[in-house]
Amino acid sequence: MALDKITTVQGTAVHVPGSDVDTDRIIPARFMKCVTFDGLGGYLFYDVRKHEDGSDKEHPLNNPRFKNATVLVAGSNFGCGSSREHAPQAIYRYGFRALIAESFAEIFFGNCTTLGIPCVVATGDDIKVLAAAVEADPALAVTVDVEQCRVFFGDQSFTVHVPDSARDSLISGRWDPIADLLESMDDVSARMQELGYSA
């Protein structure tokens, strides 16, 4: 099963400030009553984006200037809290293809990698510079280079950190473990029998 090799993500960016943004905030629990992840994009950050009557609050994602952004720029400990996969699914389905933050919560990071969403870690200072550049020019092209571990925008760039295992998985097109797991099904069948699980 050939997956895309995710070496770079290019697009425009939006900055959602704040630290410790938890998965409940990313996708509130009540939207988990669904049989597919399909509609989740519309509920991304719902309670911080919408008033109770459904009208818009002030939020970067509600700002038309950043409408088609595909790179999400965030603060520290992004994605903490419950392990719900609904959170990275909502982010992906909203249209984001890469995340840049000061740090990510561990399970969230793993879930994103499995979905082929690169999460790269930058310093707070670099994020500030990027956020200011994007604020000044929302159409600014931003490139997240996973292979080189760098982010490029305008005539600037900075180094980001991507853990080796995630970087390798993404650039070799093996970010989803299913392909790896499916490789050894003969061994699995034999072991299932040995262990007495199957006849």
Binding site: M1, A29, M32, K33, C34, V35, T36, F37, S83, R84, E85, Q89, I107, N111, T114, L115, S165, D168, S169, R174, D176, P177, I178, D180, L181, L182, S184, M185, D187, V188, R191, M192, L195, Y197, S198
Partner: protein, 477 residues
């Protein structure tokens, strides 16, 4: 000395297929349990990839999370819940998976159903898209809660990528005082070791007290391993385990039984196992426990005094006490006993089994729930409900003023109509006291044993069950 292997290592080694390119292990999960909330998307992914369920006989399904407990006629009044239930039914049919549907008389909370059917067995690996899968460890199984993509991985391959855990042995020795239950033991352990204390570990529970526990008590303890931060928790299999399993539908019978028991027995940790860590707990120090905060480790004896933020050892801890008390609307420096409650909930995969209802029924006979308290009792499965009804336990609960409901998760996470309203305070036998957990964004939860919930329901306030029910052998802890 020291060459022994723990049960965890034996089971892990037996189920490890190979090392994956990213350094994780491809691990066989022999038994896969699914429910309506975290599985439909996984079946969707499977279809998108054009894959089949590889070992359909090793996946078992039931509905629990969103099933209503006050109506039995389909379609249910919540169209979203109804759609999710229909979706599971369809997936089970399409992929030939055993499904304990509402009409089978065997439906219930997935962690109650597995053991009840004898699907949960020693020396096996089990996973479910639900963090309380550790419950099955009570049988000497290694059981993990997993995410939806991993549910897909299990459907497609019966394996998942996982990193090995360390093992912490927790000994509980001595004699539990009257009125002190398995729930108090696990709340005590979590309060001692903290909600993040178990990260990276599997917990092995043992010692005199655990050895003497029934299977249902062991399940209560293993269930809340996750609240202590541990990914799995287990008890070594012994005669108590085998006795419970004997004659259950999915267990071997006849000649095969004895051989199976010998095989199961051999999975127990060797006496000379060297653990990554050992913790010793004295049973005499365990009191009827309650939580006062918004994390399961924020708990203490029912006779405790609500902490003051200044008592926190670090600024972060002080801040978390402050946040918890503000949310819980509790006054620092006052006793928790006497705190008024609005709702009493007995049920969940922690404490929704026959023994839980039986024990409470012994004491509430002839008593009444206090005015203004809404009390509900929700059996963990249709079989639990039936066994209770056979013994007339349902009637005892009804006579006392409890609502006797149909099986499901109910107010444990409130994805069905059973929810707190506003800032109602609930005395609950469930396992999580997070903000908003019981369905209202400002609802409040105090975790405790079922008998303590009954005491609170009758008094209308947080109470010491030993006093309310005159368990006089011991006054206060």
């Amino acid at each position: 000395m020291g060459n022994g292997k723990s049960l965890f290592e034996k089971v892990w080694d037996g189920h490890a297929v190979r090392e994956l390119s990213n350094g994780q292990t491809q691990l066989i999960i022999g038994t896969h349990l699914i429910h309506e909330v975290t599985s439909p998307q996984a079946f969707g992914m499977l279809r998108d990839l054009g894959l089949k369920v590889r070992f359909p006989e090793r996946t078992f399904a039931t509905v629990d999370h969103i099933v209503p407990t006050d109506e039995s006629k389909e379609p249910f009044s919540d169209p979203l819940a109804d759609a999710m239930i229909r979706e599971l039914r369809k997936n089970a049919e399409d992929f030939d998976i055993t499904y304990f549907d509402l009409s089978t008389g065997k439906q219930g909370i997935v962690h109650v159903v597995g053991p009840e059917q004898g699907i949960t067995q020693p020396g096996t690996t089990i996973a479910c898209g639900d963090s309380h899968t550790a419950t099955h460890g009570a049988f000497g199984a290694i059981a993990f809660g997993i995410g939806t993509t991993q549910v897909r991985d299990l459907l497609a391959t019966q394996t998942m990528a996982m990193s090995k855990l360390k093992v912490r042995r927790i000994n509980v020795d001595g004699q539990l005082p009257p009125g002190v239950y398995a729930k108090d033991v696990i709340l005590h352990i979590i309060a001692q070791l903290g909600a993040k204390g178990g990260i990276g570990y599997a917990y092995e529970y043992g010692g005199e007290v655990v050895d003497n526990f029934t299977m249902e008590e062991r399940m209560t303890v293993c269930n809340m391993s996750i609240e202590g931060g541990a990914r799995a928790g287990y008890v070594n299999p012994d005669d108590t385990t085998f006795e419970y399993l004997k004659g259950r539908p999915y267990c071997p019978s006849g000649d095969a039984w004895d051989a199976t028991v010998e095989k199961w027995r051999a999975f127990a940790s060797d006496p000379d196992t060297v653990y990554d860590d050992v913790v010793n707990i004295r049973a005499e120090e365990v009191a009827p426990s309650v939580t006062w905060g918004i994390s399961p480790d924020q708990g203490f004896s029912v006779n405790g005094t609500i902490p003051r933020p200044e008592e926190g050892e670090t600024p972060a801890e002080q801040e978390s006490i402050r946040e918890a008390l503000e949310y819980m609307k509790l006054t620092p420096g006052t006793p928790i006993k006497g705190t008024k409650i609005d709702v009493a909930f007995i049920g969940s995969c922690t404490n929704g089994r026959l023994s839980d209802f039986r024990e409470v029924a012994r004491f509430i006979k002839g008593r009444k729930v206090a005015d203004g308290v809404k009390a509900i009792a929700v059996p963990g499965s249709q079989i639990v409900a039936k066994l209770c009804e056979n013994e007339g336990i349902d009637q005892v609960f009804r006579d006392a003023g409890f609502d006797w409901r149909r099986a499901g998760c109910s107010m444990c996470l409130a994805m069905n109509p059973d929810k707190l309203i506003g800032d109602q305070l609930c005395a609950s036998s469930s396992n999580r006291n997070f903000k908003g957990r019981q369905g209202s964004p400002t609802g409040r939860t105090i975790l405790m044993s079922p008998l303590m919930v009954a005491a609170a329901a009758i008094k209308g306030e947080v109470s010491d069950a030993r006093e309310v029910f005159e368990l006089t052998a011991c006054a206060t802890a």
